[in-house]
Each structure stands twice: as C-alpha cells, then as structure tokens.
Amino acid sequence: MQTHKAKRVEITIEAVMETRLTNALIKAGVTGFTILPVLGGSGRSGQWSREGQVSRAGGMVSVVCIIRPDRLDGLLDAAFAVVERHIGVVTVTDCEVLRAERF
C-alpha cells in the first residue's frame, strides 16, 4: 500500500494552555490535530495525577499533529512560542501516512 513520508509532532502541554496552543497552530496553517488525554506524569516540577482533581490547573493534554515534512518548521515555531515559558515536551518522529492528500 502506497504510503508517504510525514512528521508526527507530539506536544504535551498543560491543559490550561490547550486552546492557546491549538489557536496558534491553526494560525500557523496547521489543518489537523488530535488531542489525547493524559492521566498523570512526572518531571522536574514533580509528580502529578488527574485523579480526583476539579481544577484545570495541574493537568496536561497531548496534542498530536501529523504534518508534511516541509511544514514542520512553521509548526514548531508556532508551538514553541506558546510552550516557551510553560512546562511541556515537544517531540518529532518520522512516520509514513496513508492518504497523503489529507495533510
């Protein structure tokens, strides 16, 4: 089956920043992303868990964008501007996609 090279960018960011990030991505011309829930985690700022929480503070989400390789830099710039002062992790992985016309 015919596949095409693409980049999978995964941005784990605080839930309170989610809309700011997705707005920035849309502004930067990113046309698709998927948001995954995150249960908990650990990092330099300590361990956390969503269990029993009612505040949106202290929770993260993971935003996944599949993107054509040539648009990667625009996306990373946009994402970085939002993430910069905030905690969070940005990873980029090479991948192949079906139906490249969608990206």
């Binding site: 605080e14 309170v16 920043m17 809309t19 700011r20 700022s45 300590g46 361990q47 868990s49 969503r50 269990e51 029993g52 929480q53 009612v54 505040s55 949106r56 503070a57 202290g58 002062r85 905030h86 905690i87």
Partner: protein, 326 residues
C-alpha cells in the same frame, strides 16, 4: 462561650470533617482509594449549582436588601486588597520570591466555595441564617485577586506576567463563576416555585454529596502534602494559618459596617479567610507559569482549607456572635 466550644467540638465530629480526615488519612497511608476525575468534577458542578440556586431563591423570597450592592462592592474591594496584605506578609515571613509570593497572594484574595458551604452548614447548626446574596458576593470575590497578583508582579517582579488578550475574559467567565452566578439568577427568577420542583435534587442530598466531595478533597490535599512536604517551610506553613484570621478580621469589619446579620458576618469572614484552589491556580498556570504550583496548592488546599474547616469557622462564628451580641 460554652455553646461555642460545644459547637466547635461538634463541628470537628461532623460527617463532613470526618470524611475529609478519612481522605487525608487514606492518602497519607498511600491507599489506592481515589475518586474519578469526572465524578469529582460532577460533584463540584452539583455543589455550585445548588448553592447558587438556593442563594437566588432566598433573595427572591426576602427581596433585595439595600445592602446587596454595597456587599458586592465590599467583596470586590476586599478581593483586590487582601492579596496586597498577603504579599507583604509573605515577603516578610517567608523566602518565597516575588513570583511565588504574588501567586500565593492571589489565592488568598479569592475564595474557596467549599469552605463557604461548610460555614453555611455550621451557622445553620447554630440556628443562624444569612443573606442569600452572600453567594453573589462569593462569585464577585473569585477573580479580582488575580489582577492584584498580576499588578504585584508588574510592579515588583523581574519579568512581567503573561497578559494576553484572552486571559481576562477567561478568568471572568471561568466555569465556577458562570455556574454560581447563573444558578443564582435562575434561582432568583424561578423562586419558591422553581425550588419546589428541584428541591429533592438540589437540597435533600446536598450534605451527603458534600461529604463525598470532602473525601475527595482530603485525598487530593493529602497527596499534595505528601509530595510537596519540602515547600512547606515553617514560615510558609505559618502564613497558611495566620493569613485566614487576618482576612477574617477584614471581613468582620466589612460585615459590621454593612450591617449584615450575624450569619452573614460569619460568611463574609469565611470568604475573606478562605483561599481558592480551583479558579486561581488555573489562572496562575497561564499568567505566571514560573510560579511553583506546589507552593500555592499545598498552602491553599493542604493548610488553609483544613484550618478553616476545623478551627477557623467556629472561631469566626464565636467572634461574630460576641461582637454582634447574637
């Protein structure tokens, strides 16, 4: 005075406090007990709708007091002012830097709605009632403190806060304010008739849901205390138990000046004494990402909340009763 002591003791052995203690203990003992996030949020929505609605119905029953607007104004001013006092105190008593101190200060200017509810419960047990619009005062006091914190940062901090366009709208329209104010208005509009329809849901199970919610708060507070022990220096801890009575004193003065009922004065004191743990932390993560969340969350939920719940509220009730001669 004896009555007050008995009330304080009774308060300590009320189901609400005991369920909070159960959560705290379970968490310290590292039990795997936990309440799903969706259930915790559902209970929080229920509590906000219930107290908002009941407040509105009460206003519709008794009409608007001439002091309603003045109370709102007083709440507004206190929410703006208290962070300044808290900030000064923190900079003196603790080694927190400007950012952390401002973030903590914002929490103490804002309010904890569950503490408010617990106080309502206690004054009810003491046979007192209060002005229904205190719920509206609570709503008004949620957000202004955030602005004070941002101003403190802009004034004393090295890097400014992140003041984007969206933030102010986001703060004013955050879920708890919308629910509280919306339900208050709906209760006001539909009055006793509306209450008849939904009382079996809004009123009857309230205390029970509150118990489960406090169980959850105990679990979360315990987890926070366990993981953030290191930030709780003696100075920081001391602030967490000294600040509430200071806030309460301001609330007392305001309540007396406004001529509120004894119950109303207690609630005003409680609002000023309590610290936010829902709306303000979220706003701080956006506007002051450099501030350490374990400091403000641990203080607010792990120190000040249990302090108010156990000792604070009975104390405020005793003082208010003494002063108003009730």
């Amino acid at each position: 005075m004896d009555g007050i002591l008995a009330l304080a003791a009774g308060n300590l052995l009320s189901p609400i406090i005991l369920f909070f203690a159960l959560g705290l203990l379970a968490s310290f003992a590292r039990s795997d007990l936990s309440i799903p996030e969706a259930i915790a949020k559902g209970m929080s929505i229920y509590l906000l709708v219930s107290i908002g609605f009941k407040g509105g119905v009460s206003v519709s029953d008794h009409g608007i007091d001439s002091t309603l607007l003045l109370s709102l104004l007083a709440g507004l001013i206190l929410s703006f002012t208290i962070p300044l006092i808290a900030f000064a105190l923190l900079r003196t008593m603790t080694r927190l830097d400007v950012t952390d101190a401002a973030a903590v200060a914002a929490h103490y200017g804002s309010i904890s709605i569950v503490t408010f509810v617990a106080a309502t419960s206690v004054i009810g047990s003491a046979g007192l009632s209060s002005e229904g619009y205190m719920v509206a005062v609570a709503a008004v006091m949620e957000a202004p403190a955030i602005l004070s914190a941002l101003w403190l940062i802009a004034r004393y901090g090295k890097t400014g806060p992140e003041m984007e366009e969206g933030l102010m709208r986001e703060i004013l329209l955050n879920g708890s304010i919308v629910l509280l104010v919306g339900s208050f208005l709906i209760g006001w509009i539909t009055g006793a008739e509306g209450m008849d329809k939904i009382a079996p849901f809004i009123v009857a199970p309230f205390q029970g849901v509150l118990c489960l919610f406090l169980l959850d708060m105990g679990l979360v507070a315990g987890r926070g205390l366990r993981e953030a022990r290191s930030v709780l220096t003696p100075g920081v801890f001391l602030f967490g138990v000294i600040m509430p009575p200071i806030g309460a004193s301001l609330g007392l003065v305001a309540g007396l000046l406004l001529g509120l009922s004894t119950g109303g004065v207690v609630l005003f004191m409680t609002l000023c004494a309590s610290a936010s743990y829902i709306a303000v932390p979220a706003a701080m993560r956006v506007a002051l990402p450099e501030a350490n969340p374990s400091v403000y969350l641990t203080l607010s939920l792990g120190v000040t909340f249990p302090f108010n719940l156990t000792l604070g509220i009975p104390l405020y009730l005793a003082v208010a009763s003494l002063v108003t001669g009730a």
